[in-house]
């Protein structure tokens, strides 16, 4: 190995888990009340925050080098481009 390994403490992992559970409860709460179109947006924003926490801490991305981070960025951009271009077609057909 070319670098030292970062060991994530149990307490940090448990703290992230509690935040993830709280965010899940928040998602359920905001989608049970009538917010109209905002509930889709709200639920997706929370889902993105949750994924960010899982990727950064549980999957150790926060402690990885540049190469993996850039590759993740590239994969997400690819996904965003194909979703964006599809909607460009679907919405203006």
């Amino acid at each position: 190995m070319n670098e030292h390994h970062h060991i994530v403490s149990y307490s940090k992992l448990i703290a992230i888990w509690l935040i993830l559970l709280a965010l899940t409860a928040l998602t359920v709460a905001i989608t049970r009340v009538n917010l109209g179109g905002y509930k889709v947006l709200g639920a997706l924003v929370i889902a993105c925050v949750k994924s960010g926490l899982v990727i950064a801490v549980f999957m150790h991305m926060k402690y990885e080098g540049r190469l993996l981070r850039w590759l993740l960025f590239l994969a997400l951009v690819t996904l965003a481009v194909f979703i964006g271009l599809t909607f460009f077609d679907v919405l203006y057909r």
């Binding site: 889902a47 899982v54 993740l72 979703i83």
Partner: protein, 200 residues
């Protein structure tokens, strides 16, 4: 063969991440289909979504988040050389996976009992948007469930290797990669849950 053991942990991890990106694009395609058809059939999707049991969905979300915590803790445990704890934590993840699949089984059998499954008479007679919704529901949760089973099998196999000492504090890339796969399963569910069970 010589006794020389070639090891490239970073290469192994890079390969795993590249594989996870392809998985991301696979599920990304399914979410894209969902979004396009939601736009075309908003009322049918809303009618379909309210038939899903959001309480079971919430329970499964909590179970999967807990399983991910357990997998992440198993990596910390193996890095610290606490091998017994590693095996116990992996066992916890697999147990959560089993609970998830049991709940999924009850959900699917309730739907199938009501005549809602791809190609059923009930869906054929109904609005086209509704059968699109349930086809997407079955294929998304089905492929995800398949991943849960593969992940659980993978982590069980890795747990056996931790027990035999083959995976240990100096050699744990296999466990790290297994955990990465498991977290991906969790990540996908983080999106399936609100989109199918909550927002409609």
């Amino acid at each position: 063969m010589t006794g020389h053991l070639h090891k490239d942990d970073f290469g192994a991890k890079l390969g795993m991440w590249l594989f996870l990106f392809t998985e991301l694009l696979l599920f990304g395609g399914l979410f894209l289909l969902y979004a396009v058809y939601l736009k075309r059939y908003p009322h049918e999707f809303a009618a379909g979504g309210t038939q899903l049991n959001w309480i079971m969905g919430t329970a499964n979300t909590a179970i999967l988040l807990t399983s991910s915590l357990s997998a992440a803790m198993a990596v910390t445990a193996v890095q610290r050389g606490e091998l017994k704890r590693t095996v116990a934590l992996l066992g916890g993840t697999v147990l959560c996976a089993a609970c998830f699949m049991v709940i999924k089984y009850f959900e699917w059998s309730a739907k199938i009992g009501h005549g809602i499954y791809p190609g059923s008479e009930h869906l054929k007679a109904g609005a086209p948007g509704e059968s699109v919704f349930f086809s997407l529901y079955y294929i998304s949760t089905g492929i995800h469930g398949l991943h849960v089973m593969i992940g659980a099998a993978l982590l069980t196999w890795i747990g056996v290797k931790v027990r035999s000492g083959e995976v240990n504090a100096d050699n744990y890339i296999l466990l790290e990669n297994g955990a990465l796969y498991w977290h991906l399963v969790d990540l996908i569910w983080i999106f399936i849950f609100p989109l199918y069970y909550l927002v409609l």
